[in-house]
Each structure stands twice: as C-alpha cells, then as structure tokens.
Amino acid sequence: MRTLRLLFWLRWRIGLNTTTTRGRVAAIGITVLFALAMAPIYVGSAIGSFALGAKMGAPGLPIVFGLCQLGVMWVSLLIGAMGRTFELDKLKRYPLRPRDVFAVNTLASLGEPVALMTVPSLVAVALGIARHSGALAGWAAGAGGLLLLLVTASLLQLLLALIDDLLRREWMRYVAAFLFTMTMIGFQLAVSRSSSRMAERVRQAGFTLDQLLEDTRQAFERLPTVGAPASVAGAHPAGWLASPLAGLAVSLLLILVPLALGARVMAKAALRGATGGRVRTRASGTARGSLGPKLPGLSRPQSVMVTRELLYVVRTPALLYQLAVVPITAVALIFLSPARKAAFGFMPMFVMIGSLAGRNLMLWGYDGPGIRTLFLLPVSARELVLTKSVGWFVSALIEAVAVLGTLAVMRAAQVLPHLAVVATGWIALSLASSVLGTWFSARFPTKPPERGLGRRSPGGVAGFGALLAILAIAGALILAVVAARALAPDSWKETASLVVTTLAACAAVAVWWIGIDRNADVVEQNRERMIDVLAKSSDV
C-alpha cells in the first residue's frame, strides 16, 4: 500500500508539475469528447448486457465477461491501448520490490480507457442479474466483474513484461515483432474461425438468438480466464469450474501467477539494460560507398538523412513493430476474410488508413535525445522536414506495396480494375497525412515510451483531433469517389473515380510541397520546445 500510495503521488505530482491549467482543462474536455464519441459502443453494450442479465440471470455472465475480456485483449494487442504506468528501470535505484511495482501497474491499468469502457457493461449485467435473481446475485456478479478485470489486467501486464524483456535482446527485436504480430493475427484467426463455425451451425440449424447466446456462453465458459470469475459471480459454468470456490481459486491463481512471473521478468529485464549490440556490416553501407544510396531529387547529405530515418525505423522496436504489424495484419485479413466476398478488401484498406492516421503523429518523437544533434547539423529546417517526410513516405510505401500487392495477387479479378483508383487515393492520403503529422509532431512534440512496443498515437486533445482529421480526409475522399460514381454513367464510373482520386493526389502533392516550407517554420518556432521535451528522459 505504501508503494502504491507513493507511486501514485509521484505520478500525480509529475502530472501537475508538467501541465498547465489550460492543458488540464483541455485534457478533461477531450476525455469528455472521447467518452461521448465512444458512447454508442459502451452504452449499447451496457443496454445489451442489462437485457441479457435480466433475461438469463447469472448463467448469462460468461457471455458478457467473455466479450469484455476479448475486447480489452484485442484492442490492447492491436493498438497498444494498455501500457505500463511505471517502469522499473526508472525506479530500480530505490528500495522498491519489483512485485509491488508490477502490482501497482496492474491496478493502474484498470484506469486505462479500454478497461473503463467495459465497466458500464459489467455494472449493467450485475444490475440485470439483480433484477432477475435478487440483490445478492447482483453483488456477486459485480464482484465477479471486478475479478475479471483484475485477471485480464494481470495477464496483459505479464504479456507486456515478456514483450519488453524480449525486445531488449538485439536479435529478439526482430523475432518479437514478428511473433507478437502473429499472436495478434492468431487471436483474430481463432475468433474468426469459431465465429464462422458458429455461423455455419446457426445457418444449418436455423437461426435463433437463444441458440447463438448458448453457443457463445459455452465457448466462453470453457476459457478459465472467463469461466473462473464467472463462477465466482454465480454463473455455475459446466465442468470443473462449477464450484465458486474452484472459480475463486483459479481466479486468484490467474492473478497471482502473472504477478510473480511478471515481477520476475520485469526485474530481470530492468537489469538487462537497453537494447543494443553490434550492427551487421551490410547495414553500414558498402566498403567504399556512402552510408546510403543517393536518392533522386535529393542532395547527398539529404539522402544520408533519409538513410538515417530508415535505419531508425528498422532499429527502433516500436517503429519496427508498427511497420510490421499493419502489412502483416492486412495481408492476413485478405486471406482470412470470408472470401473473397468482401468486395475490394475493405478491412485491409481500413487498417491501412488507420495506420496513416496514427503512425505519423510522433514523427520526431523517436529521435529522442538525438533531436538536439539534428538541430546542430548544418541542414536547414526545410531539409529536416523534407527528409523526415521522405523517410516516413518510404516506410508508408513499404506498407502499401505489401498490402496492395497482396490484394492484387490474391484478388486480381476484383482488385486490378480499381488498382489505379486505390493507388492514387493512397498517394493523396499519405501526403496529407505526412503534412499533418509533421505539423503535429513539431507543434506538440511527444516522447514515446522508452520501453516496449509503444503506442501509435500520442493521444491528448490535439492527437485525437489530428487522428480524426486524417480519418475525415479519408472519409471525404471516399464520399467524393462514391458521388462521382453515382453521377457518372456505368461505362464511365471507373474513369470518374480515377479523375477524383487523381485530382486529390495532385492537390495533395501541392499541399505537401507548400507544407514543407510551412512546417519548416513550425519546426524553427518550436525547436526549443522539441529539444526540451524529446531530449529529456522521462521521470518514471
């Protein structure tokens, strides 16, 4: 408790000392805005959960618990929504037990938005059960919900500790980026397969809601991470978890084992130090050549700057993960999506647009202390912005080639006729994203977490706004294409779409070119703040 109190005090003081009143008011504003924007998801879920609890009573709990856990796990793995509030590296000089720090991180993670968004559903199902079976059953369901959140948070914290530990080994950074991407895809694959199987059975047996709920309940109650807390809450799942005592024992095990293991892993990782090691000779360029190839249209110093950007992408675990996760996920979705029915691979495109919208917002953040050296180099702010943008564009291009290439090969008949429209649309979006991301990351410099995979978006008022801005641009472009197709005669639909996206791409090129000068001014104006924010190491 002492560690808990001290660490939360530390976080509170640091928060107060490093923000202005205006910033805090803005943060509250964006929290309310975010809560309102997400309301359809959690209010809708809460209404459904209440109805389920009132109809089925405690036996319906595994469904709500399972969906909540699935939601938290999926969102956390996909976008890194759950992080570690305190890093042992920063605290290891103090006489704190790793176990305590891990426990505090687990408790703190319950305050993450993704975890909080499940609370209305858990409360609602408890209220529904109270109506169905009485107040005592409702309280038991509430306690089970809390247990479920603790189990979920413990498991995720253990996963984060393992990821962090793996990423500190030079050779493992590459393996880890691949493995965890695969974990996430496997997770989606499992969900997709079981839901397909369920849908198939439902189709054969004739669809009834009760049948669907029953299948879902059975699927979730077999999972100990869901079944055990549900058992404590009075759901009496089938099998060995039927007894609430067994459920409680398993729940406690699922909290305490990750605590012991995670603390151990975290303590070992903190002693391991930062990622490092030797760099393969090939990465250093050829024997007599430059550090990197001379790029067309750029001077040699500018090309070398772009090379540095790309070396950073490959050698920074979080950037590498971000670069790998989107194409692999999108490609996996192409293979997994129920065939080849989804005309045009909507999901892969959505994942790619989401990546363009979020990945650009910490462009300067990953330079860390090196930002000061960047400003000491004899290159103008314009050149800095230009090379940063080109570096980012190259990494986005790798992403796009992987996704669009796979789409073109796997669904040639559906995709090839529209490839030109998609490619020009992508150019427009990525250039707009580059301009906005450069402006945002210079105007609101954000230091990414020093450990782990890191989040893609810096969050906050402006971060959320920037994310929405790119999504709005993407939406506007899609609407414009839809409108053009609606207005054009059948034989001209594709041409009309291409005209719209080409015009958008031309406009984006002009905006990008002008944006380089404008953003160079922003970088000049914010240089001191960027150094101040990015060159300092974080407190905890």
């Binding site: 070398v304 330079d367 000061r372 004899p378 290159v379 103008s380």
Partner: protein, 268 residues
C-alpha cells in the same frame, strides 16, 4: 578585450527562462586561435551561452557573432564551420559509432570515401575501433564523449565548443584528449571554447578565461593576468574562481547533525 580577428563576439546578449534571466546583457569576445575557458557555478548561464552561439536557442536581446557570422540570420553557415560537444551529448542512439561518424561527415559535405577514411582514423585515434559497430546506446559515458568529440572534429571545424568534455572520462582518455586539443590549437589555429568544472584541466589548457556568474561576465582576461591577485600576489585558478563568484558560504553541513554525528559503537 581580445584583439581581432574574433571567433566569438557577443554584445548585451540576454536570454531568460520563465522570467528568470539566464544571460543578462553578456558582452564577450574570444580571439581566434585561443583556448578559451568559460567558467561559472551551476546555473550561471554557460550552457545557455553555448546553445545561443550554436544556434539551438534564440536570444531575447543583444547580438552575437560567431566567426564573423550572425547567430540569428546565418546559423546554417555557422554550423558548417563549428564543432560541438554538448552537455549531455545527445547522440543518435540507434546508429553504430561508425555510422554516426560517417553520417555527420557526409551531412557536413564530405565525400563518402573521405567520410569513411576520416571515420576510421578518428575511431583509431579515440581507441573506439573495436566498438565501431556497436550501437551508440551500448556505449559507456566515456566512449560517448570520445564519439561526440570525433563527430565535432570530422569536418575540420574552425571553432570547437566543448561543454564539460572531460566529465566522466577516465584519466588516460582525459590526457589523450587534452593533448589532442592542444595540438589542434597549436597547429591548426583552431579556437576552442571550453566549459568545465575541473579547474585543474582549465588551468593546464586555457590561454584565456571568462568567469560568468548570474548571467553576467564577472572576470575576463588571459590566465596570467587573472591569476595575479590584488597587489600582484599570485593565486590559483580555484582561488580566483571563488573570489570572483563570491563563494562565502559557511559550513554547508550545518543542520545535518543527524548525518554527520559520530556513530556510537553498537548503536543502530
């Protein structure tokens, strides 16, 4: 003050942070080819001066010229002609030492072959060859200092800014760096602007000294001039420094009885 040609010239240079002045109308001249020691207590404004002169900070008032160029309007030209070892180093952690040096060389306009040649020679001179392909994030503090100094030298700068270059560097490396710097000033007429809290090193290296306190220049001159105390009596640089900044604190440990009192045998 120093005679022309001047490597550094500031006039009423001011800069404050949150209303607190870090530099208060600083006027300073450093002659080309001199080894200038810039001293002052913590928070006196030494790093702020370097940050303004190297184009990282904008002054609130006054003017500054480096190698005859204005720091506000010609900072790019200045950066091409200077080398900087900043306090805190701030290197690119995810480049190897070799890549870092080649990168800096090529960005300064050296041909790839020349950048590679100089990189090899500098790594050899700094005893970093064996660690050349390690990431900078794996370097020790002393290795980072040596790498930062190599980066500052690879393009043959005319003026070198060194902010605490010997802090955390072992005795042998300190001696090697000291000899290298002396050779650079003697043979290439390079100007060195050095800040350090190690007065012994400053005393051995510097030909000219400036002492800054509370953002103002409190003492300035050649080492020999300044070491002549009131009445011409010789004094050490430490005495000069303490006299200049008015360090007259009594017993700093007063009030720390709980820490400084003797421990009774057997007591806990």
């Amino acid at each position: 003050m120093a005679e022309t040609p001047l490597a550094i010239q500031t006039h009423n240079l001011s800069r404050s942070f949150g209303g607190v002045p870090a530099l208060d109308e600083l006027t300073l001249e450093v002659a080309e080819g001199s080894f200038f020691g810039y001293l002052g207590p913590n928070g006196a404004g030494k790093s702020t001066t370097i940050n303004i002169l190297t184009g990282l900070l904008a002054p609130d008032g006054g003017s500054a010229r480096v190698l005859g160029l204005d720091v506000e309007t010609q900072s790019l030209e200045i950066k091409r002609r200077i080398g900087v070892v900043p306090d805190g180093l701030h290197l690119f952690e995810r480049l190897s030492g070799e890549e870092h040096l080649r990168f800096v060389g090529e960005v300064h306009g050296l041909s790839p072959a020349e950048a590679r040649r100089r990189t090899g020679q500098l790594l050899e001179a700094m005893d970093l060859t064996a660690d050349a392909r390690k990431l900078v994030s794996n370097y020790s503090h002393g290795m980072r200092k040596k790498l930062a100094l190599s980066c500052a030298l690879i393009h043959e700068p005319r003026l070198l800014f060194l902010d605490e270059p010997f802090e955390g560097v072992d005795a042998m490396a300190t001696r090697e760096l000291r000899e290298l710097l002396q050779k650079l000033v003697a043979t290439r007429r390079m100007t060195v602007f050095l800040t350090s809290h190690v007065l012994e090193v400053v005393e051995r290296l510097c030909t000219h000294i400036g002492i800054i306190a509370k953002g103002r220049l409190a003492a300035y001159g050649t080492l020999d001039e300044l070491r002549r105390g009131p009445g011409g009596a010789p004094r050490s640089l430490e005495e000069l420094f303490l006299d200049t900044i008015g360090a007259t604190r009594e017993d700093a440990s007063a009030g720390l009885d709980w820490l400084t009192r003797g421990t009774e045998p057997g007591s806990t």
